[in-house]
């Protein structure tokens, strides 16, 4: 049987479930690849950082439309690929395919949901059993999770981890010596990296670390963050792990930021999501986006071609909610859309529209 990754990727993008044997092969190849990666992986900008996606497959496709397809854009995914959403299996399958196909363009970091204990409770295990009649596929995936890296450093300046800092980890070298090829333990530096949270701004200022209400990891403050950045010569820490209503959050005087990439989390929270686009000169831009429209969630993911007329009608219907200034902005975007429609077909794809409109919502 020929192993054609491009064909598999195409199937995965159509939300077609791959056969069990193929999943096993895919996971084995992924493990081989990841085995040679250090706990701390170094990449160069430009790169786009993606936060939690939690099985929201259509929103992941939206991410590729907005941020650019692989391998045109370099990606660092910060973990939490599975649980909660309805399509955890399809999501992790697609991401593993892309990793194996473009190993230097895609980096997969481990999140707190990439472990056996958590996936049994928060949905991934159940989904695997339903879609593959039995727990074998779940065990293939959770075995791969043991191999995912723990941290990424972008251009020797920006540290990316899933959760946060640990009182046991002061230097990058200490992260490098962890034995990561195992289930995430209940405590210790590996657990802290995927479970910790920065202290939220509306609380009393804490110094150092306090125990986290999540039952693993710590809550850490500004002083700890500054100390870590100084000792290791970094300029910024980017992490995920916490829901942000606006899609992202910047804390501690821009020393730390949270990126969250699952819009309308659990299909009910109504939050925005974002991608952190890091330019060649290390400029940071949070590209905010909303959930993929409902009418695109069940069929052909290539869809998103809407007629210009329909767009106009839709926006005109909401006129009474806008002030004239906003209407002027949307009108401008129409002209931009018209400009994008270089072949005068009367059709502009959705991702182009969202890209132009998104500038008005930041």
């Amino acid at each position: 049987m020929a192993w054609d990754l491009d064909a598999l990727i195409e199937k995965a993008q159509r939300r077609e479930l791959l056969p069990e044997n193929t999943i096993r092969e895919l996971c084995n190849k992924a493990k081989e690849l990841l085995l040679s990666e250090d706990n701390v992986r170094h990449v160069q900008a430009p790169v786009t950082v993606v936060g939690d996606v939690h099985g929201q497959f259509y929103d992941v496709l939206e991410i590729f439309r907005i941020g650019g397809q692989c391998p045109d854009t370099n990606y660092v995914f910060l973990g939490d690929y599975v649980d909660r959403g309805y399509y955890s299996v399809e999501t992790i399958t697609l991401l593993l395919c892309l990793k194996v196909r473009y190993p230097d363009r895609v980096t997969l970091v481990r999140g707190n949901h990439e472990c056996r204990a958590v996936t049994q409770v928060y949905g991934f295990y159940n989904e695997c059993c339903e879609k593959y009649k039995g727990g074998l596929v779940w065990s293939y995936f959770t075995d791969v999770f043991d191999y995912l890296v723990l941290a990424v450093v972008i251009s020797d300046t920006i540290l990316c981890i899933h959760g946060g800092l640990s009182p046991s980890l002061h230097t990058l070298d200490q992260i490098r010596v962890i034995d990561r090829f195992r289930e995430i333990p209940h405590d210790g530096p590996m657990a802290d990296l995927v479970w910790s949270d920065p202290q939220q701004v509306d609380g009393d200022e804490i110094s150092g670390f306090t125990l986290s209400p999540r039952g693993a990891g710590y809550i850490f403050g500004e002083d700890v963050t500054r100390h870590f950045l100084e000792i290791n010569g970094f300029g910024h820490i980017c992490r995920a792990h916490q829901l942000c209503m606006e899609g992202y959050q910047i804390l501690f005087d821009d020393m730390l930021s949270t990126v969250w990439s699952a819009p309308n989390y659990c299909y009910r929270v109504g939050n925005m999501a974002s991608l952190l686009e890091i330019g060649p000169g290390l400029e940071r831009y949070f590209n905010v986006f909303a959930a993929c429209p409902d009418d695109q969630r069940t069929s052909d993911p290539q869809g998103g071609e809407v007629s210009f007329k329909a767009l106009v009608q839709e926006l005109l219907m909401e006129e009474d909610e806008r002030k004239s200034k906003d209407f002027q902005k949307s009108y401008d975007s129409y002209s931009q859309n018209v400009a994008l429609d270089v072949q005068d077909t009367g059709i502009v794809t959705n991702f182009r529209t969202s890209k132009t409109l998104s500038q008005y919502f930041i």
Binding site: Q120, D202, P213, G215
Partner: protein, 356 residues
């Protein structure tokens, strides 16, 4: 110079009133799920079971005193153990000839529930059904140490604090629970606490769970396939408030999760909730954890809160305070990888330590 009596001094210098006030003042810095109710909650004796459960759930407390206007005072405490006993009785799980400390026999309560619907059973009939939590009162001016002594003597989880300073009827100030006292101790002696007393030392707290011989060796458990009723029944029968869900694997056992008495509020607080009783424990536990996370701004917690035999007692207490739970499961980690449950450390185990 270490101050070994620091704990004793702390517990004798702070009054029950101070601690109740302090808890009620701690509101804004904490996430909504952990803030105490605004006024001390007590339940009218004529409220139905459903209304009472909804009130407990809404205010995120696990117990409240029951006030009878007829008798002009508190007639008992309602907590989830009572509700569970009621549920089990209704489902014919406890023998009907067990006499309860109330004017009606269990059979009458059950009959009434079955014929008139659960909605019509007034909560006063439940107040001491479990026989587990008699109403214990402490004076507001008494030191916290007295409350701790009551926790140990009467084997209760909480006491009612009454202010008897004003002549005539005593005023109900609030409920002082084991969790409040433990959280207070954690804030003053915890290694990571910002409010810890500098230089103070609680020698017993520095000892490990294993040192203090608090590791039982094994715990009562149910399998992920057992039903919720089965779990409640075993808890009721063995007089425990939480049970581990343990799965047998090819190389030993694995802790899957746990169910506690307070989870009953998920069952009784909503429509058709009773059908959840017949679900397997793993489905119930899973849906519980998923809803809790949404209520906590999407912040997922670990499936089980654990410590190790080598964990210091003060750390375990700090963790209980941080996670707002009443117990930590003790998991063996001697070779760094095993996950077998070897014991449970609950607040009831901690309280006697505060007296030593």
């Amino acid at each position: 110079m270490s101050n070994d009596n620091a704990l004793h001094q702390l517990l004798t210098s702070v009054s029950c009133r101070d601690l109740v006030d302090r808890t009620q003042a701690l509101r804004s810095p904490h996430p909504p799920s952990f803030s105490p109710p605004e006024h001390p909650i007590c339940l009218d004796s004529e409220l139905t079971v459903q209304e009472a459960c909804a009130a407990l759930a809404k205010h995120r407390i696990s117990s409240a005193p029951i006030y009878s206007s007829e008798e002009g005072g508190f007639i008992g405490m309602l907590d989830y153990k009572d509700v569970v006993a009621y549920v089990l009785a209704v489902l014919h799980k406890i023998p009907h000839d067990t006499v309860v400390d109330s004017e009606m026999e269990v059979t009458d309560i059950v009959k009434r529930a079955l014929t008139q619907g659960h909605a019509n059973v007034p909560v006063k009939l439940l107040s001491n059904m479990s026989l587990k939590n008699p109403l214990v009162v402490v004076d507001a001016a008494a030191p916290v140490l007295d409350a701790v002594e009551e926790f140990v003597r009467a084997k209760v989880h909480r006491v009612v604090v009454l202010d008897k300073s004003v002549d005539g009827k005593p005023t109900f100030l609030g409920v002082l629970s084991q969790s409040t006292v433990a959280a207070f101790v954690a804030s003053k002696f915890g290694k990571l606490s910002s409010a810890r007393i500098p230089g103070a030392h609680w020698p017993r707290g520095d000892q490990t769970i294993a040192d203090l011989k608090l590791v039982q060796g094994e715990v009562l458990s149910v399998t992920p396939e057992d039903t919720v009723v089965e779990a409640l029944y075993r808890m009721h029968e063995n007089q425990i408030s939480s049970i581990a869900i343990i799965k047998k694997t090819s190389d030993g056992t694995e802790m899957w999760g746990s169910i506690s008495m307070t989870d009953i509020k998920e069952v009784l607080g909503r429509k058709r909730g009773w059908s959840q009783l017949l679900q397997p424990t793993k489905a119930f536990f899973t849906s519980l954890r998923n809803t809790q996370a949404i209520e906590n701004d999407g912040r997922d917690a670990v499936p089980s809160f654990v410590v190790h035999p080598s964990t210091q007692v003060i750390t375990a207490i700090e963790k209980m305070a941080a996670t707002h739970t009443h117990r930590m499961w003790v998991v063996d980690n001697s070779d760094g990888r095993t996950r077998g449950v070897v014991g449970v450390l609950s607040l009831s185990n901690v309280m006697p330590l505060l007296l030593m």
